[in-house]
């Protein structure tokens, strides 16, 4: 709307830069803090540019806190959630995209509806199930819980992707004597690589960012993921912002990078028919 003329464009760019600076403010603060030695962090008045570069914050954070443990837990839980989710959602998505059968609409609606539910709705009963199955304080408990919430969205998303692939490619394979499973394995999955990648990354990020299941289902330090472990730095009387910002930086970078790869897929997947125009 404001695209007319050089002045208009300059104005647009200026406002955009201001707004971006505004949106990224917390990250600038984080980077400034993590590079400062402690005495500079707690200086009054505070300032942006560190005088001394304190990269040892990272080393100390790693040395004095069980962060290796936290990261390991996060990684184990996230990778396993990804594997389990993919294993469950690929066949389900394929069935929804390609087969005609009774009750398809119900399945569709169920998968769509479930992704709207928040973990909190079921957390009470899920907690009791975890107690019953003796899965509190286990990786497996966290993996199960995260998979439940990744699964429906991934199935939904992937079946949408499968649908965009023309039928005749598969038909040709079937005629040439491939079995249905071979078709999925050799044709559908390779062709749908972007869709499958989205599913992998989405479930990884979902599990990596989980706080609520970790909060409810774990108490021991060696089953604490980063998102929960990092909360311990903020105490009522004493907080260690130098270490916290370092940990936050390390824990955020991988998910941000991954997210940037799937963000377009997510937007089209979520907005569905409306964006297809």
């Amino acid at each position: 709307m404001l695209s007319r003329g050089r002045v208009g464009r300059g104005f647009v760019i200026f406002i955009t830069i201001v707004l971006i600076f505004f949106l990224l403010f917390p990250f600038f603060v984080t980077i400034s803090t993590m590079l400062k030695p402690a005495r500079e962090i707690y200086a009054t008045p505070p300032y942006w540019i560190p005088k001394g570069l304190a990269l040892y914050n990272f080393v100390n954070m790693w040395k004095f806190h069980p962060f290796a443990q936290y990261f390991t837990t996060s990684a184990i839980v996230a990778f396993s959630t990804t594997a389990l989710t993919t294993l469950l959602c690929v066949p389900a998505a394929y069935a929804l995209a390609r087969f005609r059968f009774k009750g398809k609409k119900i399945f569709f609606f169920a998968f769509l509806a479930i992704q709207m539910f928040s973990p909190i709705v079921v957390i009470i009963s899920l907690f009791k199930i975890m107690v019953f199955l003796q899965l509190l304080n286990t990786y497996f408990g966290l993996i199960l819980a995260n998979t439940v919430f990744a699964l429906s969205f991934c199935t939904w998303m992937l079946s949408g992707y499968f649908k965009t692939i023309p039928l005749d490619i598969e038909e040709a394979a079937l005629i040439d004597g491939c079995s249905r499973l071979q078709t999925i394995q050799r044709i559908m999955i390779p062709i749908s690589a972007p869709g499958v990648a989205t599913v992998l990354i989405y479930s990884f990020i979902l599990a990596w960012n989980d706080l609520i299941f970790a909060l409810a289902f774990t108490t021991s330090v060696n089953k604490t993921p980063v998102t929960l472990g990092i909360q311990n730095f903020v105490g009522r009387f004493y907080s260690q912002w130098d270490y916290l910002t370092c940990a936050a930086f390390l824990a955020t970078i991988p998910v941000v990078v991954m997210f940037l790869f799937i963000e377009r897929q997510l937007v089209t997947g979520i907005a569905g028919g409306a964006v297809k125009g």
Partner: protein
Amino acid sequence: MQEGGRDPPSYRPSCLQTREEVKLPARLKGNSLQASEAKLAYLFLMPATLFLCAFMFFPIFRVIQSSFYATDKLGGLSHFAGLENYVTLFKQSTFRMILFQSVYWTVLAVAIKTLFGLILASLLNVEYRGRRFARTLIVIPWASSAPISAILWIWVYHSEFGLLNHSLRALGITQNPPIWLGTPGLVFYSVIWVDIWLGIPFMTLVFLAGMQAVSVDLYEAANVEGANALQKYYHITVPGIRDVLLIATLLSTLWTFNDFNTIYVMTRGGPVNSTHIIITYLYMTTFERLRWGQGAVMAVITLIILSFCAWIYSRLYFRKGD
């Protein structure tokens, strides 16, 4: 479809070209791949379905059931209590206040997210060099981990060492910046801002996708007719993104209503319940005060609200295509 998106790939193994002259076996005729293969379909759907039944539908059933039962401290059901839990909960003035607060939280946050989203999307819809980079930067708050971002915001808001207040002073905006997380009345708005901040990128991207799907021809026709920028915006852009607007607002409503992370990490609902919404209150009631029955009631209320939204979403989603 904008840039790349998910156009059907053109890749096709050369050995698998469909040949006109190949006679299709009877079972492959017509819409063969969608023919009656119900058995296989159920087989494929079974693992996911069983999994969801065990860890989603069964828990939902149990939580509805336990909302009608009296419970002990460990959450075990002791005896049927009818609507007792519901009545006790609705008698609490705290709960009624929090219910109202949840609505206020959701409406306010979604409205502001929508506004920011529209502004940013309109700005990004203008072509210039570096636009893609700008778009990427805007995604970052959404891409980063919500529980971690929330904790970083505590530090940003820090009254003594925080760089936000420092910047406000340095820019001469105010010499006495507020204590963001320590002033009753203000805390709620400080926390809701973080939720809004998390939600802006999604709104922006979806609106932008919607705007880019609007046909260029319409704008060209409008140019020929001599329409000005504002007229084009109201008569072409806004109607063009109506569906996207609806879906994005609806989803954002769901996510905002469900935003546990921000509140729990930043304030745990305090001071004096002033930042609680139903979701965080549910968690506290259940896992910290061990009132399982009342927690279940709140879960049921949440469930009803979410199901209603899911229903509307599915109506919107299926209206076009599919």
